[in-house]
Amino acid sequence: MPFLRATGGRTAPALLAVLLCSLAATARASELFVSNEVDDTVTVLNGETYKIIATIPTDQRPRGIFATPDHKYVLVCDGDSSNIDVIDTKTMKVVRKIDTGPDPETLAMSPSGDKVYVSNENNALVTIINFATGKWITQIPVGIEPEGLGVSRRGHTVVVVSETTSMAHFIDTKTWKVVANILVDTRPRIAQFTRDYRELWVSSEVGGTVSVINPATHQIVHIINFHIPGIDKEYIGPVGVRFTPDDRTAFVALGRANRVAVVDRKTYKVEKYILVGQRPWQIAFSPHHKRLFVVNGLTNDVTIIDVASLQAVKSVPVGRLPWGIAVIP
């Protein structure tokens, strides 16, 4: 909906620009890229019709998936092939492979997109790669089974969580040294900064909680618990975390509880549990944050949640064992 934002311009060129924008938008809707761990593919869905527009073969065991800041590429970690597949979002083809070292699980990028941060799950390492050249800048030893990566506002800090060591490790990107280690609840999966970067939320899948960390002091300031009537506590496994643009609301995917929790960012109170497909892990917003996409690993689909009404609108099929999601506008 480009008309909503294109205001203020009264001259003809401005109007023309608005028109061109809208033409471009109709010519190309947003796209959802979903990695399918078992199929060795990435499913691309049209962001408005949710129809499958491409199924892109990857190397083995694609999991972590990330769009470059300029949206020209989508990067996929192929765990059993020790590389990243670089997908050109125009041609929908793998145009390049980047060596990551063994078992890359997931990735993030620096704010400018010049560096790729990869968690090497089997080697307890984070590998830092120059995106342009594919050369390794360094490798940093962290805890066992590193997974989710969070990047601070200017990229001065990268946080990685280690699932078996149950820590959030803070890495200084000037020195590439680990500067803080915070013990969190068991099996942390995701580290997500709030939009204002004043808090870092870390989800603990087996612990069943989300730890809210002050990134300045490295202290845990709050632990969020989830209670769902009729669902045993051992099934509550928080993984994916995303914040609305106003930073007032967080969505937390709860794994085998088959729900997404809606959490008040300020009070940390859970306001609602939205029933989705089975074992939701990763979640992502549509470009204008009107929809939340929930990837359901066991039902092989993506549930679409309307953010305003907090209702699950529908679920659409993707590949087998879908894992991660990246959205490009």
């Binding site: 089974e145 149950s166 680990v178 803080a180 609840d185 730890s211 496994g237």
Partner: protein
């Protein structure tokens, strides 16, 4: 539960624990764990299959791998763990060795011992305040009449195993069972557990037979020819059944049953489809990472006993690094509290039952190559933990500490 734990930590633990800069300057604290085992006489030639191996570091390798993992975490927050391996020779004086260890003060001991030896150690007066983690036994009686307050059991009991299989058979609608039972005392216990599981879940024992098989030498040129005629005879009964439920805890004959039975029926129990805490083939719930890590370390697959040894060390690690409990009695209290939880690649936290110190856990159902299912099965409910549908629940317990 975990939230409570962490909040309690936040409130109770000094700032230095959470402050990385302070931790970096603090001295490294050491924690020593005793791994107590006995070198039992074992003749590998009684193993029915050439593919079965009996590595010397069975069980121990799991604990060693976990020590490495703890120290990976420990180096970030100033803890170092050591495994003190004590091996008593076959025929050696276990009681004297254990007493010498315990004379140094209350100990945290991982027990890689058979039931009688475990009781020998746990009943020593000086072991009263020790913490003994039993990583090896499965026998019901150690969780029932012969339970001990200083012993925590990590692997599923026999009753948990028959319940795990039973739930799956009921879910499959295979409710007619033919029990074939070996000659040992533990076979009789396992067979009684099968009958108990049948009664709990509405299955029927349609036939029952004891089988006194003397395997003799298993290395022969033409052994299968006789097996092929013996096993159909052993499994011919009047009336139909859905499965043969075999109770052969010492692997005397159970592995000869599949494809040799009189009727075309699957074999479950101690052989065939078996229930266990772990197999080298299990890869769900991120177990793949564990399997790969273990293989890199030990250059072989991870067995159930290795998993027991691994769990024991991870449990101690949680008590020390998470709860800051460093002596056995507070550790025991912590393990029995609502604050405790250990992750064991089962998709949920594992905790101890307060009534018998048994670790509650989902149980795998597997063939040698594949995981077939994992119990509790969907639909079997419990007011507390669904995993408490497996084994002796609180109202049934004969354990009174």
């Amino acid at each position: 539960m975990v939230g409570l734990l962490t909040l309690a930590l936040l409130a109770g633990v000094s700032q230095s624990f959470w402050s990385p800069s302070a931790a970096a300057h603090a001295a490294v604290r050491a924690f020593s764990i005793t791994f107590l085992r006995k070198k039992y006489h074992f003749n590998p030639e009684i193993l029915p299959s050439l593919l079965e191996t009996h590595p010397a570091n069975l069980g121990l390798a799991g604990s060693q791998e976990a020590i490495y993992e703890l120290n990976t975490a420990g180096k970030f927050i100033g803890w170092n763990f050591k495994l003190n391996v004590v091996t008593v020779p076959d025929g050696g004086n276990l009681a004297a060795t254990a007493a010498r260890l315990l004379a140094r003060g209350p100990q945290v001991i991982i027990s890689d011992l058979r039931p009688a030896d475990l009781l020998t150690v746990s009943d020593l007066p000086s072991a009263k305040n020790a913490l003994i983690l039993d990583m090896r036994t499965t026998e019901d009686r150690l969780r029932q009449q012969e339970c001990r307050a200083n012993v925590f059991h990590l692997l599923p009991s026999q009753a948990m195993r028959t319940d795990a299989i039973a739930q799956y058979l009921v879910w499959k609608r295979w409710p007619r069972w033919f029990i074939i039972q070996g000659p040992t005392r533990e076979d009789a216990v396992y067979a009684a557990d099968i009958r108990r599981s049948a009664a709990r879940y509405g299955a029927r024992i349609v036939a029952q037979r004891s089988y006194n098989y003397n395997p003799g030498s298993r290395r022969s040129d033409t052994g299968y020819q006789q097996i092929q005629t013996q096993m159909p005879l052993a499994t011919e009964v009047s009336g139909d059944y859905d499965v043969i439920f075999v109770a052969d805890e010492t692997d005397l004959f159970g592995d000869y049953l599949p494809y040799n039975t009189y009727a075309a029926r699957p074999v479950v129990g101690t052989q065939g489809l078996v229930a266990s805490a772990w197999t080298p083939a299990y890869q769900e719930y991120a177990a793949l990472q564990m399997q790969q890590r273990f293989d890199l370390f030990a250059h072989r697959g991870m067995t159930e006993r290795d998993y027991g040894g691994w769990l024991a060390v991870r449990i101690i690690g949680n008590a020390v690094m998470r709860a800051q409990k460093t002596s056995p009695l507070p550790m025991r209290k912590y393990l029995r509290s609502k604050d405790f939880l250990v992750a064991g690649y089962k998709g949920q936290g594992l905790t101890f039952r307060r009534w018998d110190n048994q670790l509650r856990q989902p149980v795998l159902l597997s063939t040698p190559l594949m995981t077939v299912s994992m119990s509790p099965q969907h639909g079997f409910l419990h007011p507390g933990y669904t995993t408490d549908t497996l084994g002796f629940d609180e109202p049934e317990t004969k354990c009174h500490f």
